[in-house]
């Protein structure tokens, strides 16, 4: 699965809506439970783990991408 597919699947949105600017304030489906689902699915997909600050700070797609890149994932 691509990064976009994982995010779209976790947040239950059309992949076209997975832009860097999209975030908790712009996607109504990005609820707190879906945020957790997103984190867990990313952990499973890329075989890594997020720390507390990374989970709390990832409020947009750009943030999430940034966390993954910092962990060496090419997304």
């Amino acid at each position: 699965m691509t990064f976009t597919e994982v995010v779209a699947g976790a947040l239950d949105v059309d992949p076209a809506h997975v832009t860097d600017e999209a975030g908790q304030d712009t996607l109504p489906s990005w609820t707190s439970m879906r945020h957790i689902q997103l984190i867990v699915m990313l952990e499973e997909t890329y075989g890594l783990s997020f720390d507390y600050e990374e989970i709390a700070g990832a409020r947009t797609v750009r943030d999430v991408r940034g966390v993954l890149r910092a962990k060496g994932v090419d997304v």
């Binding site: 699947g9 707190s32 984190i39």
Partner: protein
Amino acid sequence: MDARIRWQEIARESAEPVVRVGLLASYTIDPLIPYVGVALHEAGLPVSFTAGPFNQIVQQCLDDTSVMAAARPDVLVVAPRFEELGEELDTAVDAACAAARRWGSFLVVVLPAVPEDRPFGHLDDGRAAGVAATAHEVREPIRAELAGRPDAWVVDAEQAVRAVGTDKAHHAVMFKFAKIPYTEAVFAELGARVAGVLRAVYGVTPRVVVVDRDGSDEPVRWLRESGARLEFRDGQEDVAAVAERAGVPAGAAVLLRLGTKPEAWRDELVRSGLLDRLPPPQAAPRRAGRTTTRPALSLVDFIGGLDVEVAVAPVTPDSAAKVAEVVARAKDFTLGTGELDLTGDREVFAVSVRDKFGDYGISGAVGISAEGVVDVFSLSCVVLGKGVEDSVLQWVRDEHGDIAFRHRRTPHNQITAGFLADAGARVEEIA
């Protein structure tokens, strides 16, 4: 991951639920939903869920105006943990039993896993008051009591944790962030067990094993010896079609692909649900049920017994970051703003909470704007259901009299607005 995506697809189909399941836990239990939902849907039992608020089992069960009381679920799943409830765990089970009777719900109690913490190290095993001994002393009477009831069953979280392995069962970061103690693997195991119970209760336990004809003979021989009824399919024939050919409902046939390791076949068979059979109610041997002489508990008594202490103090440079974080993360009980503005001419107060289970630290905030209205009134879900919201509202009234509460309607703040309106506060909604 498949179950979560599949559950979203099923939820979009909006099939009329046959069974309404209520979930109450001392932790965030929402991750269980896809695993139970998909398993039951595929068994031909469409299901809907109502998840109660975090760690409010007793409050939800005792309060007939609660979310769960309003839902009147067909099945009430209650999952307490020692880590959150300690000696109140029995109270939670008592309250759940009573509520299930009042609501006419089938009760499923998730027996709590034995805590991992061992204050006495390796010597815990031999101590009569050790963690393991104490946990079993609580667990087994609950099992014994429910074994004698026709309208209740037990699912054991300890078995789910053991199946996954303790080193892969817990998710410390997710617990800190969202009070989710277990990994997805544990929720998958728990979900399979809850679904197995409900399939049996509703009479949709699998009865036929569908086996691919092109597989090895050895697993087929083993399945025959296990007593399973087999149906063979060719190619990618739909399992429902095979079921129809066999004369059973679609949910009563299950596709089983046994791998190459015979030692894993028994687990696969268990996982398929073929062995799930509900026996007549029976008392567990040798063990006595829990004492039933405890007086009935009221909601007021329970909350009074929590020894809740609430302190409200002006925000300081040391507490500012924590207050801002609490306000940003408050989703269940919040009036105002995702991002708290601590600059300018406004007063902001930090709400700190502790009770007999521990010190929750800064758990909420009240903000009063320059115009003299309350526009921030946020509490963390961890402290809800303990009367904290009433205490903070009383503090506001004591300090500021009949002050107005102002908010702009969002998906998150209607619970708080409703609470304030019910309490007789002046609530102003702005466009």
